[in-house]
């Protein structure tokens, strides 16, 4: 993954989330406060503005750190610090290498999830973005040893989407949805949904057809 591809990832995220804005907000209306769509859209729009200011050669790690910092500074809510930390940690893991190989990308994704868990203290099964991210990262690494990057990315996307769907029957223990207790059951978690969108964007960004 190079600077151009990581930038493409971020722009793919921005486009896909803006497109799903109302859907994400509707999911949040059911078990939260109806702002996840606007929060994420606001944040990634700011990330795109930020990317325009970076010069082409900026190493992937630095791009992700800048993107994460921008999310922290513009999103607010729970998702701002959490997604911001995820991208910053991934970026830090990549240092200032100009090229990132699939294994390093795996470590970066690991660091991202670890950052979210460290900050938000969510366990798998708590009905949060972690329930989409963790399986995605596990699937990526599993598919990678022996397999191709493309397969690993495809496995990660599929696992994220499965993890997203698996949040439906869960009883929320973290975030606003936890205030609903039993009533949180039967609804898909908004943050897990944006996690699936972001993993799918990564796959598109790194696929050969630009």
């Amino acid at each position: 993954m190079d600077s151009m591809q990581v930038t493409r990832w971020m722009r793919e995220c921005s486009a896909a989330i803006a497109e799903q804005k109302d859907y994400l907000t509707q999911l949040d209306a059911a078990i939260g406060d109806a702002d996840h769509g606007s929060n994420m859209t606001r944040g990634f729009a700011a990330v795109e503005t930020k990317l325009d200011q970076l010069d082409g050669g900026t190493p992937p790690g630095k791009v992700l750190v800048a993107a994460g910092q921008t999310l922290v500074s513009t999103v607010g809510g729970a998702s701002g610090p959490l997604w911001g930390t995820a991208l910053r940690r991934a970026g830090k893991a990549l240092g200032d290498a100009d090229e990132v190989d699939p294994a390093q990308l795996g470590e970066a994704l690991d660091a991202a999830v670890a950052g979210v868990v460290e900050l938000g203290a969510a366990q798998p099964g708590d009905k949060t973005m972690v329930d989409a991210l963790q399986p995605a990262v596990d699937a990526y690494r599993a598919a990678l040893d022996g397999g191709e990057l493309a397969d690993a990315l495809a496995a990660a996307t599929a696992a994220a989407e499965q993890g997203m769907r698996d949040t439906v029957p869960m009883l929320a223990r973290k975030g606003r949805a936890s205030y609903l207790g039993e009533r949180s059951i039967g609804h898909q978690d908004p943050g897990a949904t944006s996690a699936a969108i972001i993993m799918a964007a990564l796959e598109r960004a790194l696929s050969d057809r630009p």
Binding site: T25, D35, V72, S73, L82, R173
Partner: protein, 340 residues
């Protein structure tokens, strides 16, 4: 929960600019009392920073007015950070507020216990500490409608926030140290419990439609202040019964000794007429009397709201001489004012 198609009409120009426009209005309406930093969406005490005084910073999503901006002033907050409607502000705003009120005695962050508010304030505190500022944080979590547990996000911060800001603010005005001021906020939180009921939902300017849907004879029991549904849905009942539904879990958790004196706070969620809030307060005082609990101090009105939601919350704080004296101390804000 199905989202209702029905629209909620609002006095706005553009959903994106509601908060800065309202802040600009506050700046004109309360010139002399407040200063507004539009870039960081901060409401600041006109004379901030007050040298030698602990600075009090709070904030959160907008839509809860007069909380927090209307509670900025002598004897209460030094700064309030305004986020988008129902969305916590970002660390940059909170750090800017912390710098703006730092008067040499440190800064207290009063944080409502919502994941977003807690995480953003935590990051802000780290930023401020990196700059060498001294910051203490107290998290408010008084809502007994939410089960408390180590494994969950825990209770929400609601009515106790107003009381903690008043009482800790009074201590700061008296020259209390950062530890003492934080101690009062923690003491208030430990001695306060709240419970809310909604008769209708509310709509954010961005979405324009009610967050949830309630039947003509249904109420949401155990709601917070973000238009979120409550713990359960019940049939509409006489006010006396509804007050019972609210007081029982509060008293069960607070366990005030019979003969003890409380500050009773009946708060409107935004769309309920004052006439009804006083009627509810009358029920609260009757039912507390039956329990042998007396009302030492009172507050009735819209102080921590959920946009135009029709509903109310009850908050009880068990008083002692120290807290009673701090409550009576002068306060000069847009929403709470006495003694000056």
């Amino acid at each position: 929960m199905s989202v209702v198609a029905q629209v909620v009409k609002k006095f706005i120009n553009d959903p994106e600019t509601v908060v800065p426009e309202a802040l600009a209005g506050m700046a004109v309406a309360h010139a002399g009392l407040l200063r507004v930093d539009l870039e960081n969406q901060l409401v600041l005490r006109a004379d901030a920073p007050v040298q030698g005084k602990v600075g009090l910073v709070s904030g959160g999503g907008s839509g809860h007015e007069p909380l927090h901006g209307g509670l900025v002033g002598l004897g209460m907050l030094d700064a309030a950070c305004a986020g988008a409607v129902f969305t916590s502000p970002v660390p940059d705003q909170m750090a800017a507020a912390t710098r703006a009120v730092e008067g040499g005695a440190g800064v207290l962050h009063i944080v409502k216990n919502y994941t977003g508010d807690v995480l953003n304030f935590r990051m802000a505190a780290e930023l401020a500490e990196d700059e060498g500022l001294q910051v203490e944080s107290v998290v408010i979590d008084d809502d007994v409608a939410v089960q408390d547990s180590l494994y969950t996000a825990g209770r929400r911060g609601v009515g106790a926030t107003v009381l903690a800001e008043k009482l800790a603010g009074a201590r700061a005005e008296q020259g209390g140290s950062l530890a003492e001021v934080a101690g009062i906020a923690k003491k208030v939180n430990a001695r306060t419990r709240s419970f809310g009921v909604a008769l209708t939902s509310c709509a954010t300017p961005a979405s324009g439609t009610p967050i949830f849907d309630l039947g003509p004879d249904e109420i949401e029991v155990g709601v917070g202040i973000h238009g979120e549904p409550g713990r359960r849905r019940e049939k509409l009942a006489p006010a006396g019964e509804i007050v019972g539904m609210m007081l029982d879990p509060i008293l069960e958790d607070l366990k005030p000794a019979s003969g003890s004196s409380v500050l009773a706070f009946v708060n409107g969620l935004g769309g309920t007429p004052l006439l009804e809030l006083y009627l509810l307060f009358n029920e609260v005082s009757k039912q507390l009397g039956e329990q042998g609990v007396s009302i030492g101090r009172s507050l009735v009105g819209n102080y921590i709201t959920s946009l135009e939601m029709a509903g109310a919350s009850i908050t009880l704080l068990t008083l002692d001489d120290e807290l009673t004296a701090l409550w009576d101390a002068p306060v000069k804000t847009a929403a709470l004012r006495w003694g000056v």
